[in-house]
């Protein structure tokens, strides 16, 4: 199974996510900023990205998402938004971008796993169709 790239700067939340995923047998890589996340994605493309919006450093979550879309090429990009401040505009923007899931903090471990598994499902569907949802080559999501 592919792994989850976690983009989250809060240590407590990082640990919770890592533990919840570990119990479900899902591997993850933890990053705390946009540049770290992009470097990890560049090293190995993740099956799903769990993305916070409020991040330290030069990039917020939306900018990380933009950069990942740019990097994706023919690969599937499955983003689960996982943020504390999510208003209707954010949700609409996330849906427009083809988010594989939208979670508002606090979320239960069950909700987190369900969203990640859905994202993986999206990944498998895309592979089965030989497609790559969410990329510039396939902007029809």
């Amino acid at each position: 199974m592919s792994d989850v790239l976690v983009v989250e700067d809060e240590a407590g939340v990082q640990m919770f996510v890592a533990e919840a995923l570990r119990r479900a047998g899902i591997r993850c890589r933890i990053t705390a900023s946009g540049p770290q996340a992009l470097a990890q994605a560049n090293a190995a493309w993740p099956g799903a990205v769990l993305l916070d919006l409020t991040l330290p450093g030069p990039m917020d979550g939306w900018q990380v998402w933009d950069a990942l879309e740019h990097m994706a090429g023919s690969r599937s990009l499955n983003v689960v938004l996982f943020a504390a401040d999510l208003d209707a505009t954010d949700r609409a923007a996330a849906v427009r971008r083809g988010a594989a899931g939208i979670l508002r903090k606090p979320a239960s471990a069950a909700a987190l796993l369900a969203a990640v598994m859905r994202a993986f499902g999206t990944h498998r569907e895309a592979l089965a169709q030989g497609g790559c949802r969410g990329t510039k080559e396939n902007p029809d999501r």
């Binding site: 640990m15 900023s33 540049p35 504390a84 401040d85 606090p106």
Partner: protein
């Protein structure tokens, strides 16, 4: 609200992961995280409560004459007890005049300054926080100066940090703030309501860090409210 929901995520999340089959090491770690995040949440609630009281003009102010040296000595002892490993170097002469202030508010303002200074200094070679109290005639105020040894606050942020909701970029890898980051706003408001002020000055030349200056009226110069 990000500052409330994020610690709540850790508390709820780790509470959910607790269970009878958890090994003792993990159980201990989870409980520590829950406790730490609960304290962080408490700091946010305190900030909100204090801000609310300030905006409603509902602050109680009971100004009394306070002997500076014993007050500061006790404050430093309490502070070092609360934050083991942090050291406060106190310079306060016994001849300082009493100040007229609300005891709890004065304590809160200085506590905020010491805590900030401790955090700013903790990754530096000399993490000692300095607290100096002095008065210079004909000034009618006693000045309390809290100095850290951390990175200097950029000029562009020198007033921003006193705003009710400062939006400051946080460097990657830095610790999250506890509370709402409004401690300095509350501290300045409290200082002003006691007839004093709180400002940020630069540390003396050849010394790094920042120096916050709290001025408080001398007891003999002000009639109690």
């Amino acid at each position: 609200m990000h500052e409330l929901r994020t610690p709540l995520q850790s508390i709820q999340g780790f509470a959910e992961l607790l269970g009878p089959n958890l090994d003792p090491e993990r159980l201990h770690r989870y409980l520590r995280i829950i406790q730490t995040e609960a304290e962080r949440l408490e700091a946010v609630v305190d900030d909100l409560s204090q801000r609310s009281r300030i905006s409603l003009g509902a602050l109680d102010l009971h100004r009394v004459a306070i002997a500076v040296q014993p007050f500061l000595a006790q404050l430093c002892r309490d502070f070092e007890l609360q934050y083991p490993g942090w050291h406060v170097a106190l310079q306060a002469g016994a001849r300082l005049p009493d100040v007229l202030a609300d005891l709890e508010h004065l304590r809160q303002v200085l506590w905020t300054l010491l805590r900030n200074a401790g955090r700013y200094s903790m990754d530096t070679a000399d993490s000692t926080v300095r607290l100096i109290a002095h008065t210079s005639a004909p000034s009618s105020n006693v000045r309390f100066i809290v100095m850290d040894t951390g990175a200097r606050i950029p000029v562009a942020y020198r007033e921003v940090i006193f705003e009710p909701s400062p939006r400051l970029a946080r460097p990657v890898g830095s610790r999250p703030r506890s509370g709402l980051g409004t401690g300095l706003y509350v501290a300045r408001e409290l200082a002003r309501r006691m007839g004093g002020d709180l400002t940020l000055a630069s540390s003396p030349r050849n010394q790094g860090g920042n120096a916050f200056v709290l001025s408080v009226p001398v007891a003999s110069d002000v009639k109690p409210a």
